[in-house]
Symmetry: C2
């Protein structure tokens, strides 16, 4: 059995389970995002800010994917939001089967919006569907504007890109126009927001966009 055959079988099995997860989410009208980025780009802080902004309007749940431990899940649990931790045990991404197991630990009948925070990795998570409505990615300015061209798959697969740590842009010579241009060359439909999770700048546009997505989805389920 060749290496490529094995990988394809793994991905096919994953896609099938992702479709099953999606059917469960649709039955309960839950809008689901798969949040991806490099390590330290600001995923957990974005989740915290998004919960604070939208918790009055939607019932939110979180699945936290990490290689080990519960640092991020502890941060979310401190907000009194239902959260389940996936420990991948060395694995570099979450997959549909891990999410299926985590779903068993959430009250899906009391949820409108489920955020899956993936393992910090700009490569592998983009290959694995989990049953999400949308893949959401973060690129932080210290990573550099060459990242869309060098790691194209995640930019290709994502519906929205948040360019985070805009407050650091002056200190890191971040070429915003190059990042935007290269990302849009890979994915012309990509929605891009320039934000700083630290200062809050630009986040309102993200909150409005994701709220509209949730409401359009909920209407489509009626």
């Amino acid at each position: 059995m060749g290496k490529i055959s094995v990988v394809k079988q793994v991905l096919d099995a994953n896609d099938r389970i992702a479709q099953e997860n999606r059917a469960v989410f649709d039955a309960k009208s839950i809008f689901v995002i798969n949040l991806m980025s490099s390590p330290g780009a600001g995923k957990t802080t974005l989740v915290e800010k998004t919960i604070s902004a939208l918790r009055g309007r939607y019932r939110i749940g979180v699945i936290e994917g990490d290689i080990q431990d519960t640092y991020d899940a502890d941060r979310i649990a401190a907000l009194d939001i239902p959260v389940v931790q996936i420990n991948t045990g060395g694995g570099c991404h979450i997959d549909a089967n891990m999410v299926r197991e985590a779903m068993a630990g959430l009250d899906l009948d009391a949820m409108d919006f489920l955020i899956n925070e993936n393992v910090g990795n700009l490569v592998c998570p983009a290959e694995f569907k989990i049953g999400e409505n949308a893949k959401v990615m973060i690129l932080s300015t210290p990573e550099g504007a060459d990242k869309p061209s060098k790691y194209p798959l995640m930019f290709h697969e994502s519906k929205v890109l948040l360019i985070n740590k805009m407050d650091l842009a002056p200190y890191v010579d971040f070429d915003l126009e190059k990042a935007r241009r290269d990302a849009l060359a890979i994915n012309p439909d990509l929605v891009i927001f320039e934000v700083s999770c630290k200062t809050g700048k630009g986040l309102q546009e993200w909150f409005t966009w994701i709220s509209n997505q949730i409401e359009d989805y909920q209407k489509s389920r009626m």
Copy 2:
């Protein structure tokens, strides 16, 4: 055939090829490093600075690992240093077989020090030996001080950790003591340098350390 069996077979085959690579490097007394980090932590800039500092003393070659394209290899080639590009075609790390193929494109009889720059990924590259003398990793301050605890394998496998972008530390609330403490808890023998590839601060200690490593190795081969 279970998933774990497949992975183990892949790693066993990789280790065998890594040993064969190592035998070739030893026959030619080439000191080899495997440079790893998250995307955008500063690997290519560190390679450029290290070449500038040590090219008068050692004959240096570079293998550049990227998912696609030749951006980083172009930067190294501009320094008039022999460089071979590995394109992983979506793959999230370089492995021993890719390095073996790249070695065919280098004049190993005219080389003392070979730098392998891995794909930007804090997870997967640490699992794959390539025949290196030492794994070298970078953590950049904007990624945050929680990274050793969250991504322990690379810190465990590396001989040296460069904490880069120290010039940004004041803007990103980087807890240097926590990063050092947690990294050393995972790997008590880890050698740690605090550097800024942008300003040059701290790099002399790295140049001295790597020079000593190269010379100790060359003496051991006589």
